[in-house]
Amino acid sequence: MTERRFAHSIKVNDAKCIGCVACMKVCPTKAIRVRQKKAHISYDRCIDCGGCLRVCPHDAIIPLTTQLADLDRFKFKIALPSPVLYTQFGQEVMPNEVLAILKEIGFDHVYDEALVCEMINVATEEYLDENKSLRPMISSMCPVVVRLIQRLFPSLCRNILPIEPPREIAAKNLRAEVSEQHNLNPEKVGIIHITPCSAKMVSINHPESMARSHLDGAISIREVYNKVMMKLKRETGMLMMQTQNRISGIGIGWAIEGGEIRGLKYTNSVSVSGLLDTIRILEDVESGRLKNIEYLECLICPDGCIGGPLTVENRFVAKSNVLRLMRHFGGKKRVNGVLVKRLYRENFFSFKWAVEPKAFPPLDKDRNVAIQKLKSKEGLIKRLPGTDCGVCGAPDCKTLAEDVVRGYAKLDDCIYMCKGDLQSNGEKK
């Protein structure tokens, strides 16, 4: 199969970028270089984690999500919000109010994803029951984790649970249901995820496990926040529930780390959130160290999706809101297990194909040349100062050394190398 490039959900706004090194320093895949006082993202390496978006002090990193105005091309518009949306508007606001307001700001229909989360729990259990040879299996919920595995832990691609996340399954179900109900051409139905991160956009534009996503776009929580907030203020007390959604306490829990495994009967599961901890635990998995664990939930954002870069409410308050909603709706399972198991047998939840490894290229295609380059890289690392100052435009000295042997940079880019004499004079003992 030919390598499809990752579509990307993050762009640098050159007009605002001043070429500081904030984004370059946090990038986990070393995808950013600063050249001529502008940050450049290498889309071959970017996994859309949104780290740069979080730290940019100049608002120069732009998330490329769907805009409300883009929805006009659809005849029938459905909002499929992440449960994170419910946590953004304070303690008093209930999910059904938020859903009702979405219908007033331009959506024809809304759907709560939380019940589908319960379905995915059942499907996951079925899969784990039937497939016991490989452990741990890793959740496919977070699109950044999937890409991180493809890039940095290619051998773990087979550990990715081959079951689509709730947003995709909900959309798949909705398109069929709604187009039949309203006698519409399914192509004219627009199903839009309301998302806490831009990464969902990549999984929609370039899914890794099927030819075409069931979703038509993803609008950020930030984009709808003001509109929802204004309506909420104006219509407090007037909002009666018109939507037919059953809200699931277990499903709402998916907005925070641990939510997915909470609904599983496999108690020997582990949840992790945040970039560094996710990388750390995947390293342990790759060493074969965590074979006794059944299932691993990894979410790239701190504390889970409520920590997404495109949310508004701070994540600690949002987390408290999730916990309160979970208490309110209770932990009782509402899903019809028999139906879900039947759908599972029909492969309703399954990946169309396995996620393929996309490891970063070696230093050279020819192994002997790559070994030579590795040796010269190690030599360079010894010569470089090791201060990781970033002035050369690479995030750290090791990466500069790698760029030099790959032919992307010169050793002279390092000011210490350039002014070697100066430095040794300054360091006289």
């Binding site: 290619p154 051998s155 390293e283 342990d284 790759e286 060493s287 074969g288 160290r289 006794n292 490894p357 490891a359 970063f360 290229p361 070696p362 230093l363 050279d364 295609k365 020819d366 192994r367 002997n368 790559a370 070994i371 590795l374 040796k375 890289k377």
Partner: protein, 152 residues
């Protein structure tokens, strides 16, 4: 250079000292080995096998020995991983190779180690597996994993 020379020439070598009892840094060496092999374009499935083997071997030194050295040697057609340790040695190799057999202390087991799968797991992932040991002196493991040869 004749054919056998080319095959037996070490193209690349890295050595990592391992300290017995150092559970904090345990696993670092196998992690570094993994990154190195990735940079020189070794197939990801082979890397996984080496990573598992290296990790198990590293943990054995950490758990039982005083100190050790792990070395990775890349040849044209194979990778040789060796682990030499100064430690108690293994009294009965046949027994140690049995899945589930372990001399780990209660403490180690509480930490989640000592399931008795270390050596069997290494053997499973290796193409050849050689173990030499002397009680009271130490143990040497030699693990060979064959490369695909596609790069030749």
């Amino acid at each position: 250079m004749n054919k056998s020379d080319a095959r037996s020439e070490v193209l690349f070598q890295q050595k990592f000292p391992i300290r017995g009892g150092d559970f904090v840094n345990a696993g670092d060496s196998s992690c570094k080995i993994r990154n190195t092999l990735r940079e020189i374009g070794i197939d990801s499935d082979i890397i996984r096998r080496i990573a598992i083997t290296a990790y198990e071997a590293e943990m054995n030194v950490v758990m039982y020995a005083e100190r050790g050295v792990m070395s990775i040697n890349v040849y044209r057609d194979e990778i040789l991983l060796t682990i030499d340790d100064k430690g108690p040695g293994i009294e009965n190799i046949d027994l140690a190779m049995q899945p589930g057999y372990s001399t780990a202390t209660e403490e180690m087991r509480e930490m989640g180690f000592g399931a008795g799968m270390g050596l069997p797991n290494m053997k499973k992932n290796a193409d050849t597996f050689k173990i030499t040991t002397e009680v009271g002196k130490g143990t040497r493991l030699e693990i060979k994993i064959l490369l695909d040869g596609k790069n030749d």
